[in-house]
Symmetry: C2
Subunit: 189 residues, 2 copies
DNA sequence: ACCTGAACACCGTTCAAGT
DNA sequence: ACCTGAACACCGTTCAAGT
């Protein structure tokens, strides 16, 4: 199920307009960040402002829709890692993926996690569930500190993303490494 | 020396206007966050928009001026802690102070650290110097990991501030504790 | 030297009118 | 049922005119 799924199908032209707006918004957020002009997005998509607002009543709704499949992929990546890597590495790898997600679109990914409100499909719940899976796996294997919650993991990583959006990715990785030292339990080998 | 010091003294009315704007901006940022309307600040201060822009050509300039003395106090707190607490506790205490700073004014404190550009007096340099002092002290005493840079410390703490501005302070402290586990060297006692 | 405030281009948002 | 686009209130920013 995709982020944009609604109760019953849209009329053909409505669906097309929605997709157009979404495609343009994707580019706009990538280029100009989360505060890109909505009117300009509507214009570039060839629709009136009203049409944009009909489909996405608030800016956050549009942001959530843009991030939707990215978040789905992020959740899927958790299960992928759990079957292809040892638990500790799976957790570390997923945190790396979350970090990258947080940095996308000039920090839009991280910003959405930093604000409590949820829109459309529940981004928070999806990410939290994925975090719980990788963290739980690592904890049961004794590879991660047992007193950690998935919110701890998420907020630490999102924090790194937000404090380094402007800088180079190398800084992000460096900081993630430091946090991992507090999260992972040293392998006695 | 205060943040607002300029080369030569202002005319009396100019100085008064500047102070008025600054006082109103302080309230506005505290209430509405870093994006508070500049026009409204000018109006509430009883000056025209042009006057505000004359004194603070960009929003960041105004933000820096508002945060100025807070940053001075934060830097002073470093030295205070270094003389009243053992090195490891001084570092931890200062990081706590930095965390609180990052959360002020709806995250304005943290946001300014997350963007590279500097305005007016150099906020970054002031904070980095303070961080270097407490971190260096702790490292020389063997209380902190020797491979850490002051940027590591700052960005980790600022990240926590940014990812928890909306939530309760308890979450911030919790996450700071986790980061401290990676920063401090366990006391063998 | 400094202030004022009208003016401009822009933004988000709404809503009557259309199809 | 959906779209359009004019309209409104607002914002940041500038600048000629004043003192």
């Amino acid at each position: 199920m995709t982020a944009g799924d609604t109760a019953r199908p849209l009329r053909a032209d409505a669906r097309r307009n929605r997709d157009r707006v979404l495609a343009v918004a994707r580019e706009a957020f990538a280029e100009e960040g989360p505060d890109a002009s909505l009117n300009e997005i509507a214009q570039r998509a060839g629709v009136g402002p009203g049409t944009l607002y009909r489909h996405f009543p608030t800016r956050r709704t549009l942001q959530a829709a843009v991030l939707g499949d990215r978040i789905q992929r992020l959740a899927g990546r958790a299960d992928e890692l759990l079957t292809t890597a040892p638990p500790g590495e799976a957790l570390a790898g997923w945190m790396r993926a979350l970090l990258e997600h947080g940095r996308t679109d000039h920090g839009l990914g991280g910003a959405m996690m930093a604000e409590p409100l949820d829109v459309g499909f529940d981004c928070h719940a999806t990410i939290r569930a994925a975090a719980e899976r990788v963290l739980g796996g690592a904890q049961r294997a004794g590879a991660a500190r047992p007193d950690l919650s998935c919110d701890d993991v998420i907020q630490l990583v999102v924090g790194i993303a937000l404090s380094t959006v402007q800088g180079d990715p190398g800084r992000s990785e460096r900081l993630l490494g430091l946090v991992l030292d507090a999260v992972l339990v040293r392998d006695p080998g």
